[in-house]
Symmetry: C3
Amino acid sequence: MIGNNIHNFAKELWPINRSITGPGVRDTLKAISKILPKLKVHSVPSQTKVFDWVVPKEWNVNEAYIITPSGDKICDFSKNNLHLVGYSIPFKGKISFEELKKHLHTIPEQKKAIPYITSYYEEKWGFCLSHDQFEKLEHGTYSIVVDTNLFNGELNYGELLIKGNSDKEIFLSTCICHPSMANNELSGISVLTFLADWLQENNNNYSYRIVFVPETIGSITYLHYNLKEIKNKVFAGFNVVCVGDNRSYSYLPSRKGNTISDLVAKHILKFTDKNFKHFSWLERGSDERQYCSPEVDLPIASILRTKYGEYPEYHTSLDDLENVVTPEGLNGGYWAIRKAIEAIEKNKVYKSNFLCEPQMGKRGLYPQLSTKKSKNESALIMNIISFCDGDNSLLKIAETLDVPIWTLYEQIEILKNHNLISQL
Amino acid sequence: MIGNNIHNFAKELWPINRSITGPGVRDTLKAISKILPKLKVHSVPSQTKVFDWVVPKEWNVNEAYIITPSGDKICDFSKNNLHLVGYSIPFKGKISFEELKKHLHTIPEQKKAIPYITSYYEEKWGFCLSHDQFEKLEHGTYSIVVDTNLFNGELNYGELLIKGNSDKEIFLSTCICHPSMANNELSGISVLTFLADWLQENNNNYSYRIVFVPETIGSITYLHYNLKEIKNKVFAGFNVVCVGDNRSYSYLPSRKGNTISDLVAKHILKFTDKNFKHFSWLERGSDERQYCSPEVDLPIASILRTKYGEYPEYHTSLDDLENVVTPEGLNGGYWAIRKAIEAIEKNKVYKSNFLCEPQMGKRGLYPQLSTKKSKNESALIMNIISFCDGDNSLLKIAETLDVPIWTLYEQIEILKNHNLISQL
Amino acid sequence: MIGNNIHNFAKELWPINRSITGPGVRDTLKAISKILPKLKVHSVPSQTKVFDWVVPKEWNVNEAYIITPSGDKICDFSKNNLHLVGYSIPFKGKISFEELKKHLHTIPEQKKAIPYITSYYEEKWGFCLSHDQFEKLEHGTYSIVVDTNLFNGELNYGELLIKGNSDKEIFLSTCICHPSMANNELSGISVLTFLADWLQENNNNYSYRIVFVPETIGSITYLHYNLKEIKNKVFAGFNVVCVGDNRSYSYLPSRKGNTISDLVAKHILKFTDKNFKHFSWLERGSDERQYCSPEVDLPIASILRTKYGEYPEYHTSLDDLENVVTPEGLNGGYWAIRKAIEAIEKNKVYKSNFLCEPQMGKRGLYPQLSTKKSKNESALIMNIISFCDGDNSLLKIAETLDVPIWTLYEQIEILKNHNLISQL
């Protein structure tokens, strides 16, 4: 089960402090490069204008913690990188508990969870901790150490181009900006790495453009530099996030909802889990926000396990690799997306080579003795032929027959090998 | 509440004997002119051929009543103009009860109601009375006085053109041919007068063509003279009838059912009363019969309160300004149509000024601190932007978001003021 | 009731041993020719290549039976032609019961039924018998006589062309290859013969091409020779099979499901039996398989009573003219298809001769006295006019009004006679 390998890889990435910029992003890309040696790591300087945005300063954390009046060290960043509000500016000093409280974040409804908080675009510092721990804090004077740097550095992202038989591209993206959380978002990084590994070994009909970007600013930056080139090449794609828990399958459409990615995603999920959750574009929240924005409009849908915002551990320290993300969960996420990619690869249009039905009996494809039941035995192959009219795609045929597209691949090979149909 | 003013105006018009021609029509138009001084009153001579029809003679009533064998005066037109069958020809004489009965109309199932009966195109005289009263009539000789004139005069209708920024027109029509009945049809006259009053004070994007016509022959006559001119200008409109009771909201489509008027009417009503009644074209019965007839095909839908034919008091003396039509009912009718007009005025197409999402945070339109909940807080404005693609109209966006269009007006202003979107 | 005549004709054809070739086919066509003297019988030599197929040898049966060890003659072809597997090759000899069993066919679940079995394209001999009889067979040596000929002869089919006012054609087909079974398929032959009899006496708008072909190889052969000619002429048609029992009505669509034949079939059946069975193209099984195959794509739908494969007596000796097919059943099948043909004949597009509604009152088509109820009395004719816009076909109007199309024929005549509408 490939899910085990993916889970092991996720564990390796777990401790790295990812954010939208900084060494954690580079360390993550370096780990991915071991599996995907052709991954190209790009760098964009801080302050670069990208559409309506500006690439932010690079953020580096040396250490961050609080010393309580009793002398205990708490909220230690080196123990859990969620303790520090993302993009905290440096601060060192002694402050009262009353003052400190303005900088502390907890989730009163989830007493054991450390929340994940960032302040990318407003200069602040802050700490996150469990509400249980917060409630034990005493009055008095606290020593604060936020030893961070914010400086004009660079924003990084990874890109891998796998050439196929056609220049037409399938676009796959995940986000590498979340620190130690598992479903959102070590799962996407790990699953996409293993999908890319499969694709780089495969003989593909289409080319694949695979990007590992910090969410929002990363995809915006990527599009700023690449949209013109990819706009007419990319005809399908998926945003790969939240693909690691084993509780549900989910689909989030592209903005227009009618791309080949959408059709395939719905088809695959319907036959993977008939109770899969069908979200609307209004419930979006990841980089499809950019990829599908007006005039960008790339054909990007999302196949997920349990979607961001839809599970209690979301954006907290409880989103871990033990209780939430599992090898089985990752395995399911990997195969759903792989089946979707395979479906797009095999979604061709065929034409019967004969007018009228061909004589299947003489080819051993139809029972020679005609009884009450003979039609049923060859119904599937006869139904496929009846739709090979140069118009229906294989996906359309599978939908019409209400069967998983993968159950047709072998029949199509038989028909092609008998010269009964031709691919257009 | 503007419904009070509308109700007072209806009370003023109540006693006038409206028919398809005659002084009652002119008196009604005169009363409307006090509020709409630019209303133009048109006159078309009797016997004028209009399409397949001929403008009928003008009808004038001096007096009409019956003297019973006991000497009582009953069915007195001066007490209730419904007593006389509309377009009754003159008659004076003594007749037996047996003979009289052929000229009397009642509704046995509604014993207290005087029915509303007309005979526009066949020469007859007759009286209407409650079945209760009819049952008390004695045998013997009755004296009949129907002192009416039918003569080659004129047919009148009112027309008001309010110029807007565009020559494109919205067409509003009501019918002025019903005598003293309230929902059908003092309500339409009164509500449309007050809508026109609002429009003549307003700075409108579109021009408004507002007509007050006798039903059927009036709209046919109007179209005979004006269809060629208005056909390419009118892109929306409503027939304003039965808008005065407070029991329900209703929608009757245009013939094709897919005009902007239809879309807006359904949208407004859905968010005004989720149980609004959706009638079919087959249940039509007012001037949409002409406006939407083949090749005329003006985009006219109807927003009504309780539709003609759908309430027990319909076309009887029970359809009054006390029990049936109320200030609240008129107020609801006025605002539903006004909101529909406003929706058409504001139903523009917008385009985002940026590729990808704009950075809302720096404009104070998005929370700076990213927590589990930050997406929800700005979901509405982000959703609007995501559909500003130069393709979706504001109505389409409201339908997609499943919110009343009027909840978007302010957000659109904010986005325009921040230069984030442009109107196409 | 024409069903009686059709049933009598079916009884006359019952004993003939029909197969895909041979004297039984010619005898059947000869019997049909008595009613349809212009029927042309075509002959195609064995071994002719038709698309992917080859016309098989002709099959003739002199006698066929089995003598049991006790000396009883069983499975006698002269008593029931189902006893012999269709296209059995000749065999004469003595064999053990164990050997014989490999050549015997029964239906264990239907102990009294002789199954109908054929082996057209593989050389075999065999007998069919009831499972009851099979279970009584003793051990020992059996004498087998299968005195048949398979030789290069001919394949026959009948074709009747009835010229109408237009060259556009309606195509009607049935299959003549089944031996003594009633619903599948004496019913189709008999009903189509009587439909053709009606059409040859009628003044038709369209031309009719009516074919009687052996199933599969016959329709393929017919298309091989005629497709080019008929492809652009045939705009509608029906495959007439299983139209003889009185248990249900059924519809099987053309491959694309949206032809005029489909629309008419569904309309007629909906108003004939609101519980009619709506099958899918995936449940096909007769010559629509060829007529609607890719690139052939003739607009052929099926109107059936109980469909092949959907009743227990299907393809057994129980499918008879006593218990399964009845005069009432055939009558219903005949009239459903006749109504469908009439609907296509009358499915014209009309245009109102006037802008706005015409004045019906002066033509006696609308009540002169306008009361609460007057609209209902003329609702049907007014609704028809309102859709005579040069765009809606009569079928579309009937669907919109949700009434059987045949209830509109008289109204259309009235409107045409008053010069209120014109046919386009």
